[in-house]
């Protein structure tokens, strides 16, 4: 009996309390073969979610703590001279893993971020003259803290665009917080057992790619993206065509996650906010008028006719 994405979700929910939307986002990124950016205040299980995902798949997992003194070689690897053999050996960096957690990605300077984002895009790293393919599946889960901005390097929009989804994590509710205390106040947080294999993930991806998208829904996707490019005092630049592709891929993944072989408008509407929110450049007027980017996008999405 092969595993389904729902088995994976159940395993993650058994470990992480009160972050159902984030768990669904992680599952979508995994199925749609994309990378995810997780943003939220400290202590809300961002790192735990990534570790739990890797454990439930029995995948290789590496965590990179981004700091201002980090170098590109610390991520991708380097060549070291071996005195015994009198030659240079390649030592691959922590990027070579199925699931990579780039913790606090905005704390490293631009050249380190670029090294990571290049690996995300190309799915390989080049050290010296040799290129090394990254394992399949390869998912980067990067975290950012929206509160502590001192000593951070904001990610350029072009690099943010490489992330398929931006998942906003919020504080759990009162009941959920009580449940966290009940479960983990006197015990280590247990990671889930393996519920699916990497081969299962590759199969899910193939099935998700075969999910049918009606032409009316293609038009709906384009209209959503075009709505972000409309003349507005709040928007500097709207979402790119890469956002349209990401919307369709995520909608397919969601339809598959919900056991369908066709996409519905609800799939597109549900993934639109996490797909679009990090791909739009806003003017300062938005923050001056105390409008959050998410609420502006949500309002824009709600204004588009559903097929």
């Amino acid at each position: 009996m092969s595993a389904t994405p729902r088995d994976l979700e159940r395993a993650l929910k058994a470990t992480i309390v009160g972050q159902d939307a984030a768990i669904e986002g992680l599952s979508l990124a995994l199925i749609a073969d994309g990378h995810a950016l997780l943003e939220g205040p400290p202590g809300i299980a961002k790192t735990l979610a990534c570790r739990a995902l890797a454990a439930s798949l029995d995948a290789t997992f590496k965590r990179i703590q981004f700091t201002p003194d980090l170098l590109p070689a610390d991520i991708v690897g380097t060549r070291i001279f071996d005195q015994q053999s009198s030659r240079f050996d390649t030592v691959l960096g922590p990027i070579v893993a199925n699931i990579v957690l780039a913790d606090e990605i905005n704390r490293a300077p631009a050249k380190v971020q670029s090294a990571l984002l290049e690996a995300m895009q190309e799915r390989q790293v080049t050290i010296g003259l040799e290129s090394h393919p990254l394992p399949d599946p390869f998912v980067v889960l990067a975290t950012m803290n929206p509160l502590d901005n001192d000593g951070t390097y904001a990610l350029p929009l072009a690099q943010m665009d490489r992330f398929l989804l931006k998942i906003d994590l919020g504080y759990p509710g009162e009941e959920e917080e009580l449940e966290i205390l009940d479960r983990y106040a006197f015990a280590q947080t247990p990671l889930p057992q393996r519920v699916a294999t990497l081969e299962d993930v590759r199969r899910w991806r193939a099935q998700a790619r075969a999910v049918h998208v009606d032409l009316k829904l293609h038009r709906y996707v384009v209209e959503l993206v075009m709505a972000t490019r409309q003349e507005s005092p709040y928007v500097m630049s709207g979402a790119s065509p890469r956002a349209s592709l990401a919307l369709v891929n995520c909608a397919r993944a969601r339809a598959f996650l919900y056991g369908r072989d066709y996409v519905e408008p609800d799939d597109i509407r549900s993934v639109a906010l996490p797909v679009l929110r990090h791909r739009i450049a806003f003017t300062h007027r938005l923050s001056l008028e105390e409008i959050s980017p998410s609420s502006w996008i949500a309002r824009t999405i709600a204004g588009v006719h559903v097929p």
Binding site: D214, Y262, E264, D266, R269, G303
Partner: protein, 301 residues
Amino acid sequence: MARSRSLVRVKLGIAVAALSCLLFPQGSEAQSLPRLVVERFSMSARPVSPTIGRAFALTILLRVRGNVRRIDNVTLPILSQLALRGDERSISHTLGASIYRETLTVRAERTGKIELAPATLDAIDARTGQAEQYSSNALTIVVRGGSVQPFATVGSAVGRLVPIVEHLAMIAALLFAAASLTAIALLYRRRPQRPEPLPTPPILVAEPVVEQTRNERLRDAALVLRAEPTRAVVGSVRVAVRSLVGATAKETLSDVLARLPDADRDLAPLLRALERAAFTTDDDLPSAIRTCEDAFAEVLP
């Protein structure tokens, strides 16, 4: 395929006949009138200014809600100043409505204004159960003179004395007529044909605003889907059912389901089935439509 389609038609016929028996029980005079929901009733002429002696069309258009097979009691206005040359009736069906069209081919026998009274229809309003007389708009037709009047001959007072003058006058008149015709022919050859003036939009008579019940609308939608189980019809039926529960064009299915009133909770499976039929693959469409039909059967008594 042909057999199954004819079977569907037969079934549809039986369903409509059964529905008619229920809706139009025999007995009283008022109840022998058809039960209709009149949406539009108009009368128009084309062209609006016909020429004397030339046939033109008078069209009576009646749009009623639902699938109506026959409408017999449209009363035409008195056409005493027009000669009737033909009468053609047809009923066509669109989503949730039937359109009765009667085209009269008539000819005006004199020039000037002809006033036509409205066409009328006696029917029971299906929403109130009251007998009503519906009227179309009245129509005023202006008949234009057609051919050139015959040339008047010269008086007879000097007839005997100067017959040659008469002959000359006749020849001159003939020459003038021939020259005029040639000039007109040349003029028309150079100018492009003028399009016929568009008919004036019919004046709609205000009708009482009445509502069809939820089940009547659902039954109409189910009949339409059964008669033509295609993706396009699924789309129309989906729009109709969504509007029934007050969904706006900017709401997805989950938005609609989240605020579905208790009275319409039973429509949730139907809404889900229609969503599937609207967006699923072509291979899955027949199965999705069967699910819609089952869902209709669940909600219709």
